[in-house]
Symmetry: C2
Subunit: 249 residues, 2 copies
């Protein structure tokens, strides 16, 4: 069954440069925060043109492996932030024509357990951050839909952080992100949505405060169920493709 020869892949120079640097980063020869050599220096070391190095750097940048501190020139090694990774995943999901129903199903599976874990493991500061976000939503009943969505999404992100498992956090992040565009519509059309969300968050927080995993799970289930009901009330088709903010711009 196995062929004599595998298709040989000739790598272009910028791909090699990219991979070599990536290996150094993943192999921890370069630590997050370290400054990369300058482009000219890299060009010298690899014995290629600076343009070639730049192309490699743009690829690495796009993977979140190197970033530049805001208002700085030099590139530094970074560990991809959850947000950056989530961007990539949600782009993919959009192009794969994910429906809201699929996102919902995945959230229904992940978030309750994630909430249960968070109940056990959350730190005091994480709880405080969650409370602050929830308050921002609950205190202002007339918040513009966009901002209400931001707070809702942020609540999920913080919960992800609090669950103490980066793998789960990063798996869950893209899902809430995909809710953003449609959630905004839903909140606009369903008057009671804000209160329902705020209410669920309050109960969830109470459970998290008591480190009550069972109740946290329960309330998250109800919370997620509510989303679906909200969508149905708003007349948003559940099998409609989710979009990104970028695409609707």
């Amino acid at each position: 069954m196995r062929e004599l020869f595998a298709p040989l892949r000739t790598e272009t120079a910028y791909q090699q440069v990219c991979e070599l640097i990536e290996e150094k980063i993943l192999g921890r020869a370069l630590h997050p925060g370290d400054a990369l050599p300058t482009e000219t220096e890299l060009a010298r070391q690899f014995a290629v043109n600076r343009s070639t190095v730049r192309e490699a750097l743009r690829a690495l940048e796009s993977r979140g492996l190197v970033t530049r501190a805001p208002g700085s020139k030099r590139l530094r090694v970074a560990r991809p932030a959850a947000a950056a990774v989530a961007d990539g995943v949600s782009r993919a999901l959009v192009l794969h024509q994910i429906t809201f129903l699929q996102v919902w199903e995945a959230m229904m599976l992940l978030e309750p357990e994630l909430a249960a874990l968070a109940a056990r493991r959350r730190s005091a500061t994480q709880l405080a951050a969650l409370e602050q976000t929830a308050l921002a939503l609950a205190d202002e009943p007339a918040l513009p839909a966009e901002e209400a969505v931001e707070h809702t999404v942020r609540f999920f992100s913080l919960l992800g952080e609090a669950c103490g498992n980066h793998a789960l956090e990063i798996a869950a992040e893209p899902l809430t992100r995909l809710l953003r565009p449609t959630l905004s519509r839903m909140i606009d059309e369903v008057p009671q949505a804000r209160q329902r969300i705020a209410g669920a968050q309050r109960r969830l927080l109470a459970a998290l405060g008591r480190r009550d995993a069972v109740q946290a799970r329960e309330w998250m289930i109800k919370h997620i169920r509510d989303f679906r009901r909200g969508y149905e009330l708003a007349g948003i088709a559940l099998d409609a493709r989710v979009e990104t903010a970028a695409a609707s711009r």
Copy 2:
């Protein structure tokens, strides 16, 4: 609480080019499979230099939004393959110093439900593909560890496809990918590992064939538990950081 000024962000030319093209893709103005204009043409339209366009293209390429067909020059619009996305996620997880235990916890949460869904939704061809992969592992008791790992990982990937939910598929894919390096060691050190894996796969397949979601879930739970036991037997520390293949090269 809010500051008067937000940090202003000036976008460089290549970032703008990158974003503009990305928007067209995500907004479905460009469909997967479509050929992108040539670099010179893009440079003309954006009124920038070709080098600038190239940097943008490298970024898009790295995001999996455009790829080049093997042995072809022209870039085509693509939807990021699950594998490409998973690469990004697993890179991130490695740099976030994920432990095997966290990966295991996440898998324990996702995979059983994923198996249950697959039992309900798998197509005949998907089942056949799964069976083929399982056979490849079961038939050759003396397979090199590397290949046994490939088959094991592939089995999970196929199961992801079969679950009928791209969101879950893409969430689960990076996890199994992270098993690869250590799994290889485990299979080498624990003689009965191959049989345990093959056995679990066989039972799982039987359940999938009968569309028995409950049994599928059960066997998957046992399967995942087995992994942990295997690691313990092999003396691999559960809180050791997972690595990538690239990093260990």
